[in-house]
C-alpha cells in the first residue's frame, strides 16, 4: 500500500515536470472518455436508469409477449394487454403485491389558457400506489375513483401545475376542462415526475373509469378482450424473487391462451425488471441502434489511447535511464510495471474527471446537433451508473494505453542503458515497431469512422433529393382531433364543412382539404387488401392508406395519372370508391388499367378504383415504394387526428395563425397541434438521418483530428530523435528536398498501411449499418475513396510539417546536437 502511495506521489511529480506532455495526454484522453460518457448517459437513460420511485428495485414490468419468427421461437415484446386480460392478471398473479396498468393518450386541456393538446396517461387506480409516491398536493386515485359512473377526476403533473396554473394552492378540488368535459383535480404529482418511461412527458393522469370521455373508443375498450392497448407493472411480493413471479406469469398466460385460443394463442407474459427507460418493445428495437451508438465513441477512445500510448512510449524512451537505475537498485519487473502503470492511471483519473465535465457539454451539443424533438423529455443527467461507467472507462483506458509502454520499459536492457547507450538495438527496433503499429491502428480506426460518417452523409444527401410525391412549397398543415372533444359524427361533418368553407374563402388560398393521417406525418395506418378475383381470399397485399376530403390532391400537389379526384358525391351510401397509387395498381393489376377494378379490406364491401395517384413517400423519405390508397372520408367512420391542408399563393408561414383563428371561430376550446408548413414536415422526416450524420460527423472529425495529431506527434518525435542523423546526412551531401521526401515518405508509408487496413475493416463493418442507408450500398466506392483521400491528405500534412523542420536543420548545429 505504501509503495502504491509512493508511486502515486512520484507520478504526480513526474507529470508536473512535463506539463506539455501531461496536458496533451489528459486532453486527448478526456475527449475520448467524455464522448463515451456522453453517449452512455443516453444509453443509460434508455436502458438502465431506474424508475424514479422509492424501492425501485422491487418494481417489475408485467410484459405482454408473443412468439414470432419462422418457428415462433423469438419473443417479441411488441404486444399489449387488453383490459379484461389485465384484470385476469390482477386477480390471479399472487407473486406481485400490487399491479397497475396504463396507456398514454392525447388529451385536450381547455383550462388555464389557450386550449392545448397534452400528453395524458389513463391508468388503473393503483398506479401511484404501486410506484410508492406521495403527492405534491392533494391525493392520488383510490378505488372509488375507478368505478363506472364515478365523477371524472384527474391528477396533474407538477410542471403543468406551475406552467398553466401558476402553482395555485387552491387548484386541488377545482374542476378543469379535459376533452371538453369537467374533471376534478384531486392531486398534483411529485415534482419532476412525468411518467415511468423515457420520452413521455405526462401532464395529466386519468383513471380507467373516465375512458369513455378520455378516449374516442373508450366506451368499448374496457370490455373488449380483442383490443390490446395496455402496459402493466407491479411490485414483487415480500420474499418473492423475479424468477418466481416470471414463472407464475407464464403459467397464467398459458391458462389464458387455452381459455381464449382465438385471441391469445401464441401469446404469453413475462415479469422482467422495470427501468425508467424505454418500454420492452421499444427496447428490443432500439438495442441494436444503441449498441452501434456505443461503438462509435469507443472507436474514438481507442484512437485516443493509441495516441497517448505513443506519447507514453516516447516518454518511456527518455526515462530508460531512470528505469535502468531502478532495476540496478533491486526493482523487479513487476514493481516497475506497477509504477509505470500507476502513472498511466493518474493520467486517466484526471482525464476521467475532465471527461465527465466534457460529457455534460457534449450532451447538450449532441441534443442540439441531432435535433431531438422537444417533446422527447430525455433525462440526460448523469447518475451513479454514468459515474461508475466513466470511472471504469478511465481505468480501462489507463491499463490499455499504459500497458505497452510499461511492458516495454520494464524490459530495458540494463547494461547499455546504464552506460548511457540507446537501450540496445533490439529494444529500439521493438519500440519503433510498436510506435508504428499504434499509428497504423489510429489511422485505420479513423478511416472506419470517417467512412461511416460519409455513408450517412451520402444517405442524407440522397434522401434530400427524393421526390416526396407532394408539392411542399406554399402548403401548410394544421391538425386537430374532434373525437376527443366529444363530437359525434354529425357534428364532425358539419364542422369540417364549415371549416373548409371558411378556409377556402381566405385571401391567397388556392386549395384546401382535410386528411387523416397527414402526408409525411409520424402516423401511418396500415392494413391488407385483396383485389377482386378468383384468389381474393388468399392474395392479401399490405397497404397503407389515408382518408381524404375532396380537393385533397390539389391541396398537397400530388397529380393523378389516371381517373379522377373524389367529389362531394362520394358520400356514405354512394358506391364505395378508392384511389390507388401506381405501386399498388401495378401490384394488384400488373399491365392492366386499374380504373373500374375493385378491391376490399378484409370482409368489407368492395371499393371501385376511380383514380391512380402518382407514387410518393408516405412516412419516411427513405422508404421503399409501398402500396398506398386513398378513401373518401365520408366512407370511413370515426377518424381521429384530422389535418387541414391548405395551399396558398403567399407565404405559408403567415397563414398558420390565420388558420388557427378560422378553427377557433368554430370552437374556441379546440386545441391545435402540429401546425407546420409541409416543407418543415418534410424536413422533420429526415431528423433521424440528419441526426445520425451529425453525430457521426462530429465523432468522425474528432477521430480524424486525433489520428492526425498522433501521426504528427510520431513524426515530430522522430525528427527530434534523428536531428544528428539528418545533420550528418546533409553534411555528407544530402539535399533538403531529399530529406523532406524521406520523412514525408515515412509518414505516408504508415498512413497508407493504416488506410488500406481501415478500408478492409470498414468494408466488413459497414454491413452492420446497411439497413440505415438509402440510395447507396454499405461498400459505396465513392464514399470509401473520398474518405481515404481526405485521410491521406490530412496524413500528408501531418507528416509534412515536421518533415519541413527536419529539412531546415543546420548541419553544423545538428552535429553539435545532444
Amino acid at each position: 500500500m505504501s509503495s502504491l502511495a509512493a508511486d502515486f506521489r512520484y507520478a504526480i511529480r513526474s507529470l508536473a515536470k512535463t506539463p506539455g506532455f501531461t496536458v496533451v495526454a489528459i486532453l486527448t484522453l478526456a475527449l475520448g472518455i467524455g464522448a463515451n460518457s456522453s453517449v452512455f448517459t443516453l444509453v443509460n437513460a434508455a436502458l438502465f436508469r431506474p424508475v424514479p420511485a422509492p424501492h425501485s428495485d422491487q418494481l417489475v414490468r408485467l410484459a405482454a409477449t408473443r412468439a414470432e419468427g419462422p418457428s415462433r421461437r423469438a419473443t417479441s415484446f411488441r404486444r399489449a394487454f387488453s383490459y379484461p386480460e389485465f384484470r385476469d392478471y390482477t386477480t390471479q398473479l399472487r407473486s406481485l403485491a400490487s399491479l397497475a396498468a396504463f396507456q398514454d393518450i392525447p388529451l385536450s386541456l381547455g383550462s388555464g389558457g389557450e386550449p392545448e393538446r397534452t400528453k395524458g396517461l389513463i391508468t388503473s387506480a393503483t398506479y401511484f400506489r404501486v410506484l410508492g409516491f406521495r403527492p405534491a398536493a392533494g391525493r392520488f386515485f383510490n378505488s372509488e375513483d375507478d368505478v363506472p359512473g364515478a365523477t371524472p377526476v384527474t391528477v396533474i403533473s407538477h410542471a403543468l401545475w406551475q406552467r398553466r396554473f401558476g402553482s395555485a394552492p387552491d387548484l386541488v378540488g377545482r374542476a378543469i376542462t379535459i376533452n371538453g368535459r369537467p374533471f376534478t383535480v384531486i392531486g398534483v404529482a411529485p415534482e419532476r415526475f412525468a411518467g415511468t418511461e423515457l420520452g413521455l412527458a405526462i401532464e395529466l393522469w386519468v383513471p380507467f373509469a373516465s375512458a369513455r370521455v378520455a378516449m374516442p373508443d373508450g366506451g368499448t375498450l374496457l370490455e373488449d378482450r380483442t383490443a390490446p392497448w395496455l402496459r402493466a407493472f407491479g411490485r414483487l411480493g415480500p420474499g418473492v424473487t423475479l424468477d418466481q413471479a416470471d414463472a407464475e406469469a407464464r403459467t397464467i398466460a398459458t391458462r389464458l391462451a387455452t381459455a381464449y385460443p382465438a385471441i391469445l394463442e401464441g401469446n404469453s407474459a413475462r415479469v422482467i425488471p422495470m427501468t425508467g427507460g424505454l418500454d420492452p418493445g421499444n427496447r428490443q428495437e432500439a438495442g441494436p441502434i444503441l449498441g452501434l451508438l456505443m461503438a462509435v465513441p469507443a472507436l474514438v477512445l481507442l484512437i485516443a489511447c493509441a495516441n497517448v500510448a505513443n506519447l507514453m512510449l516516447a516518454r518511456a524512451t527518455s526515462r530508460r535511464r531512470e528505469v535502468g537505475i531502478r532495476v540496478a537498485l533491486g526493482a523487479t519487473r513487476g514493481r516497475l510495471f506497477m509504477q509505470l502503470l500507476t502513472e498511466s492511471l493518474v493520467l486517466t483519473l484526471l482525464a476521467g474527471a475532465i471527461g465527465l465535465l466534457l460529457s455534460f457539454w457534449l450532451n447538450d451539443l449532441l441534443i442540439a446537433v441531432s435535433e431531438l424533438p422537444p417533446e422527447v423529455a430525455v433525462a440526460l443527467t448523469p447518475d451513479i451508473r454514468v459515474l461508475g461507467f466513466t470511472a471504469a472507462v478511465a481505468l480501462f483506458t489507463g491499463v490499455l494505453f499504459g500497458l505497452a509502454p510499461a511492458l516495454g520499459a520494464s524490459r530495458t536492457d540494463l547494461v547499455p542503458t546504464l552506460k548511457g547507450e540507446g537501450g540496445g538495438l533490439g529494444l529500439q527496433v521493438r519500440r519503433s515497431r510498436l510506435v508504428s503499429s499504434l499509428v497504423v491502428a489510429q489511422v485505420a480506426l479513423s478511416l472506419v469512422l470517417l467512412v461511416a460518417a460519409g455513408l450517412f452523409l451520402r444517405t442524407l444527401g440522397k434522401a434530400l433529393r427524393v421526390d416526396p410525391g407532394v408539392d411542399t412549397s406554399h402548403a401548410v398543415a394544421v391538425s386537430f382531433d374532434l373525437r376527443i372533444q366529444g363530437y359525434d359524427a354529425a357534428r364532425q361533418g358539419a364542422f369540417y364543412t364549415q371549416l373548409l368553407e371558411r378556409v377556402r374563402g381566405l385571401p391567397g388560398v388556392t386549395a384546401a382539404s382535410l386528411a387523416s393521417p397527414m402526408p409525411l406525418g409520424s402516423r401511418l395506418i396500415s392494413s391488407t387488401v385483396a383485389a377482386e378475383g378468383p384468389n381474393q381470399d388468399d392474395a392479401n397485399v399490405q397497404v397503407s392508406y389515408a382518408a381524404v376530403w375532396p380537393a385533397y390532391f390539389a391541396a398537397v400537389g400530388t397529380s393523378l395519372t389516371r381517373g379522377r379526384e373524389f367529389t362531394t358525391r362520394d358520400v356514405a351510401g354512394a358506391p364505395p370508391v378508392v384511389i390507388v397509387n401506381e405501386t399498388l395498381a401495378h401490384r394488384l393489376w400488373p399491365g392492366q388499367d386499374p380504373i373500374g377494378k375493385r378491391l376490399r379490406f378484409g370482409g368489407e364491401p368492395f371499393l371501385e378504383v376511380v383514380g391512380v395517384a402518382r407514387d410518393g413517400k408516405y412516412h419516411e423519405l427513405t422508404e421503399r415504394p409501398r402500396g398506398f390508397l386513398y378513401v373518401p372520408e365520408r366512407q370511413r367512420a370515426d377518424l381521429s387526428d384530422i389535418t387541414l391542408l391548405v395551399r396558398t399563393a403567399g407565404d405559408p408561414r403567415s397563414l398558420i395563425p390565420v388558420l388557427g383563428e378560422a378553427v377557433h371561430a368554430l370552437d374556441r376550446s379546440l386545441p391545435l397541434f402540429q401546425a407546420i408548413t409541409l416543407e418543415d414536415a418534410l424536413r422533420q422526416r429526415l431528423d433521424g438521418e440528419r441526426g445520425a450524420s451529425s453525430v457521426l460527423g462530429v465523432f468522425g472529425g474528432l477521430a480524424l483530428l486525433l489520428a492526425a495529431l498522433g501521426l504528427y506527434g510520431v513524426m515530430a518525435y522522430a525528427v527530434a530523435q534523428r536531428t544528428r542523423e539528418v545533420g550528418v546526412r546533409m553534411a555528407l551531401g544530402a539535399e533538403r528536398p531529399r530529406v523532406l521526401r524521406q520523412f514525408v515518405g515515412e509518414g505516408m508509408r504508415l498512413a497508407t498501411i493504416g488506410i488500406v487496413i481501415g478500408l478492409v475493416i470498414a468494408a466488413a463493418l459497414t454491413r452492420v449499418i446497411a439497413q440505415f442507408l438509402y440510395g447507396i450500398t454499405a461498400t459505396d466506392v465513392f464514399t470509401f475513396a473520398l474518405c481515404a483521400a481526405v485521410l491521406g491528405s490530412v496524413a500528408a500534412l501531418a507528416s509534412f510539417i515536421p518533415a519541413r523542420r527536419a529539412a531546415q536543420v543546420d548541419p553544423m548545429v545538428a552535429l553539435r546536437y545532444e
Partner: protein, 224 residues
C-alpha cells in the same frame, strides 16, 4: 585459506558479429576472499565494466561458472539472480545515477522499498544513514541542487544502505575532482575495514592504492 566469497571459473562473454564472435571477456578465473578490496584495471575496452556487471548480476548473458558465497549463480534463473543481487550487492556508478525527481532521502529509501522493508523501519534506516554520511541537512534537496561530490556521496550511501556484503564501484571518482575523489576513496576504505568486500574498476593508480590487490585486464583476458 577460507572458502572464497566469489569464485569465477572460465567466465566468458561474447556477441556475434559477421560470421564469428567478438569476445569481451576470455576465460576469466578469479577468486575474491571476503573483506578483500580488489581493483580491476586495464585499458579502455578491456572488459572491466563488463566483468563488474557480471559480478553484480546486472548482466546475465555470459558463460562459465560463477559462485557467490554458497550459490552457483550460473545455475540460477534470472529471477533468483535478481534476488541474490538484492540480498548481497551494492553498486556505485561513475555517473552517480541518482533519480532526479526524488530527494536525497527518497533516493536513499528506494533500495529499501524494493526489499519489502516496512515503512517505519525504512525511515529509521534512512535517518541513520543520513546521519552517518553527514547529509541530514540535505535530505530534502534534489540531486540537481548538489555538487558532483555530494551526489556521489549520496550514491555511495544508497549503495550501502541495505548493508550489502559486496560493494561494486565502476569508476566511482571518474567525474569528481581530486579532493572529492579522495573523500570517496577514504569512505570506501572505512567500509572495507568494517567488513564490506569491495571490487572497484578504475583508471587511477592513486585509487588503486586503496585496495589490497590489483587485477589487470587486457583484451578480455586477466593478465595479472
Amino acid at each position: 585459506m577460507n572458502e572464497p566469497m566469489i569464485s569465477l571459473h572460465n567466465v566468458e562473454k561474447s556477441y556475434p558479429q559477421g560470421g564469428g564472435r567478438v569476445f569481451v571477456l576470455r576465460q576469466i578465473a578469479l577468486d575474491i576472499q571476503p573483506r578483500e578490496f580488489i581493483t580491476i584495471m586495464g585499458p579502455s575496452g578491456a572488459g572491466k565494466s563488463t566483468l563488474l556487471a557480471i559480478l553484480g548480476m546486472l548482466d546475465g548473458d555470459w558463460t562459465g561458472e560463477y559462485r557467490l558465497l554458497t550459490e552457483d549463480v550460473h545455475k540460477l534463473k534470472p529471477k533468483d539472480r535478481v534476488a541474490l543481487h538484492k540480498q548481497y550487492v551494492g553498486f556505485v556508478f561513475q555517473q552517480y545515477h541518482l533519480l532526479d525527481d526524488l530527494t536525497v532521502a527518497e533516493n536513499l529509501d528506494i533500495p529499501l522499498s524494493y526489499r519489502d522493508i516496512k515503512k517505519s523501519e525504512r525511515q529509521a534506516v534512512v535517518a541513520d544513514t543520513l546521519d552517518r554520511f553527514g547529509m541530514v541537512a540535505k535530505k530534502d534537496l534534489y540531486p540537481r541542487q548538489l555538487s558532483g561530490g555530494q551526489q556521489q556521496l549520496v550514491a555511495v550511501a544508497r549503495s550501502v544502505i541495505h548493508k550489502p556484503r559486496l560493494l561494486l564501484a565502476d569508476e566511482p571518482t571518474g567525474n569528481l575532482h581530486s579532493e572529492q575523489g579522495r573523500e570517496i576513496m577514504e569512505l570506501f576504505k572505512q567500509l572495507n575495514t568494517a567488513g564490506t568486500t569491495i571490487v572497484q574498476v578504475t583508471h587511477s593508480e592513486t585509487n588503486a592504492t586503496y585496495g589490497n590487490r590489483i587485477v589487470q585486464l587486457k583484451d578480455g583476458w586477466i593478465v595479472k
